[in-house]
Amino acid sequence: MSFRSPASIKTGLIDRDTSLAFSFNGRQMTGHAGDTLASALIANGVKLVGRSFKYHRPRGIFTAGSEEPNALVTLRAGAHSEPNTRATVAELFDGLVARSQNHRGPLHFDLLAVNDLLSPFLTAGFYYKTFMWPKSFWEKLYEPVIRSAAGLGRLSGAEDPDSYDKGFLHCDILVIGAGPAGLSAALQAARSGARVILADEDFLPGGRLNAETYEVSGMPGYRWAAETIAELRSMETVRLMTRTTVYGAYDHGVYGALEKKTDHLASADGKPRQVLWRIYSKQAILCAGATERPIAFANNDRPGIMLAGSTRTYANRFAALAGKRVTIFTNNDDGWRTATDMVDAGAQIAAIIDNREIAPLVAPAGAAIVMGGAISDTGGRLALKSVTLSNGQTIETDCLAVSGGWNPNVHLTCHQRGRPQWNAAINAFVPGGELPVGMRVAGSASGALTLAACLAQGHKAASEAAKALGFTPSRSRPAPASDEASANSAFWHVGNSKKRAWVDLQNDVTTKDIKLSHREGFRSVEHLKRYTTMGMATDQGKTANILGLAIMAEASGKSIPETGTTIFRPPYTPVAIGALAGRSRGSEFRPTRLTTSHQWAKEHGAIFVEAGMWLRAQWYPKVGETHWRESVDREALAVRRSVGICDVTTLGKIDVQGKDAARFLDALYTNTFSTLPVGKVRYGLMLREDGMVYDDGTTARFGENHFVMTTTTANAVLVFRRMEFARQCLFPEMDVHLISATEQWAQFAVAGPNSRKLLERVVGREHDISNEGFPFMACGEVTVCGGTRARLFRISFSGELAYEIAVPARYGDALVRRLMEAGREFDVTPYGTEALNVLRIEKGHATANELNGQTTALNLGLEKMVSKKKDCIGRVMAGREALIDDDAVRLVGFRPVNPQDSLVSGAHFIARGDAAVTENDQGWMTSVCYSPHLETMIGLGFIRRGNERIGETVIAADPLRGSTCEVEIVSPHFIDQQGERLRG
């Protein structure tokens, strides 16, 4: 049986020439372009669309908008399936597949409906009170069972195959909502010359103008809306965004908005399904409209019971009849309008029941009028069949349109903790207190619930906003219209029934639950919400909250404003996690930084490791090597035997210039740089303000006023930021300038006894790099390969004779290939970060493991580097008593007493014979490796008075991972303690 009004009596705003096939629970049906899934289901006579959360009660479509609590369906199939979609906002497309949720067996015979029989036990707090013991059962048994019985839809469990995007928009005036107030505001703002964004969650802008039958400017409201939209579209300064929900109001005029791009199409065709926009506005006008609220009465949740305004929306906009014999239950004038509209669309009115005593308007002929009446019960298991009045009269009906008045959609006004205020004239909360910066509210959202007022308010708010931004408001007038009858009364629920009356349809919260919660001592509305779950889940109580508050207020003998509301938080409507993630998924989660030798390293089979955003070669396995240690041992031995090459581009390089550059570095570093001769490099140590070591690195002096600093890879950005802070805030009088040169230079370490011989083959002959001409810690500008500008540093991290050579990044790839070619004679070996680490542990150099923010120069054995002749950041605090205690931990080396034993970093040192407990802790192991040179594992670590205890044996205990072994305290320099190699 069709519930679509014939075009002859109601055209509706649908395209009857375009039929769309869709299915619901396997039943094939057709709708039209312009339908929502809900309107198409109603037109096809479908009443039952789902089961309730807890009691598995049969439920039907309750609203016509984003506030829908009942009609949650799963759209699409497989990995594309999207649970908990509100059928009322799902735009119909050809081939749409929808399924109902939360039932076992078919929808009309849900086995879990047995819960409804158990309802006397399943009241608020039931789970908390019942499933108390044994404690372990909650996670293992109770919760899984309850979760599977109660709830909403299910995710497919497959990876989301859709893509999402984000974006940034800017405007002078953001208008939120394209109903009468929003259209009026956007038009006036645009005509005044402002850049306007008009966002509306619907695919057809117009709001209630499309749902009602009022006239604006002498034409039907929907036509005025269409004409206004057309004018706005023609203006270059206006961006009209349909299918876009502004879901959050953030700081300083920033709004979050979700635009549905392809949800209304059968396939996204590779394009992002949704775009999450960040909108920067100078002014915003909230025209979010109002949401109709229900009245609570016994069995008020049957399919066929719907908000009155929604029955009008379906009848007027979609030409779809929610029922053929409609009963109206109202506490305000809107109910009466419903009667007229439903009759015009071809329905019959069974009765109008108004709790008030005097009829405000004329009812259509044939409708029974019951003034001062109320509904005490309803009948019909899977669809409404009848209603029973308080006077005992029973009326046969297939649709009950309920109107309890309207609540302004104040949500976005409260996103910065604003509290709405009670307006007794409309019995509702309206925006109040402090609004988000730059926000104005117009139309129903502000409590102006009639048409002419909406148009006028939108116009006025736009003029004010335009003026605030320095525009001259256009002299145009708001579109003329009349104000409809809108008297209302405070009537929330029909009391004194033993049967259940629903307050929150989505969470199955009844008037009894609210009263019970009050009896059990929950006085704050926030507690009421948590205890009963009222106002949770996808609809966030848009239709329920005020009813719950009213009942709670009644129970506590307070007024509604005294009771207050729960806080409103973003998002206004649900936002998919995928949309929040945007493109940040999988390998695109973060950008990747590649060194200039990356391609070459890839060709040579390198295994890469992530170091921050960098990918660095970790080791280069050779054919036949089956374990990473084989490769690393070979690389480390090759460096000590002949020569190796390692890409060290990732280390931070900061160009420091200016007349005060040297003085500036003296202030930053613990040691002195003003005494460093040009052409020399010095190792430097930086402290935090609190005296802990911040970072280390070498700084080279290329000129009187020009230094090049290196930082660790991890701290490159942090050190630069800190130096900028020092430059701008601590030493603004200094002439010193910083710029990162990390990306400018490709830099390679060339290390090993043959490194000089190798370099002599590429460095221009005019440059003397002999030990005398270019000694340890020398630096200079050279040319390589017949003319390429390069920088050469004689520094060593491995303890060997070593250099670092840098060329402009464009030549990095060519240089590494050339070095490998030139070094063939010496069996040059590329080495990765693992071998680099082995070499530095063997030499006893500290890295991030040791400079972990908890260690001082003294701890590191570098106390002599803290100059006493000058000040530097952190110097005073480094002198704190506890930090210079004789008992302080010192960096030393560790070797297992039994060379076969494994060492682990993170192990703690205790004296032999002591228990492995915190009280006996003497320090910890920071770095370990297998030393192919010493053929045993070795480690670096901090231990109390370590420098005085060389030769002592202690226990390295790691109870967490169950390993304990005896270790000997040794010098941290496992090789070449005198440093002859690097000076050779």
Partner: protein, 192 residues
């Protein structure tokens, strides 16, 4: 005295994006090579002398914050208080030499020619694509031709310059050039 010409380097130069170009129905994205970039930090107290030197060398005024100034083949970009970047056709040899001569000791220079990948985005769809990654307002009223700003796109620092009404030059770090290219390409695809 004539400058000594640097011999041709036998080391082959590689551009960060291998000369990438792509077309998107009338909008193009192309790597720009052959430009040198030098940072200039004005020496404390030399602001006036610096401005005079710039005027003398290139017949342009030092640009105010958020802007660049262009004349012929060069573009001087404001990048921070007291800091500018000069974009010019790559000279033979060290790009610092000609700039050093021009500013004659009023600014400290650093070669940044190899620090960035440079992409030029040109065409009617350029702004729509940038809307997906660029937080700046590119409306001509806020970001006119010759405007320049440093910003962040997809976690990457970018120096954005509006060369013409629908032509943008984007500079982003060399090491992450491929991620940046992908970010711009994806934006073009997503807005097609």
């Amino acid at each position: 005295m004539a400058e000594q010409l640097t011999p041709v380097s036998p080391l082959a130069a590689v551009s960060p994006l291998g000369g990438h170009t792509s077309g998107h129905d009338g909008t193009t994205l192309a790597e720009v090579t052959g430009l040198a970039l030098v940072s200039l930090a004005v020496s404390a107290g030399s602001e006036k002398a610096f401005a005079a030197a710039i005027r003398k060398a290139w017949k342009i005024e030092v640009p105010p914050p958020g802007m660049s100034a262009t004349a012929g083949d060069i573009r001087l970009i404001w990048t921070a208080p007291g800091q500018y970047h000069l974009l010019m056709v790559e000279p033979q040899g060290d790009p610092l030499s000609p700039v050093m001569k021009a500013v004659s000791g009023t600014a400290w220079l650093t070669d940044q020619s190899d620090s960035h990948a440079m992409l030029r985005l040109q065409g009617p769809r350029a702004r729509d694509a940038l809307e997906r990654i660029c937080p700046l307002d590119l409306h001509p009223g806020s970001f006119a031709v010759d405007a320049a700003a440093r910003t962040v796109m997809e976690h990457l620092g970018v120096l954005l310059i509006r060369e013409e009404a629908d032509r943008y030059l984007l500079l982003s770090a060399r090491s992450s050039a491929h991620s940046f290219l992908q970010a711009v390409e994806t934006s073009l695809d997503n807005t097609a």
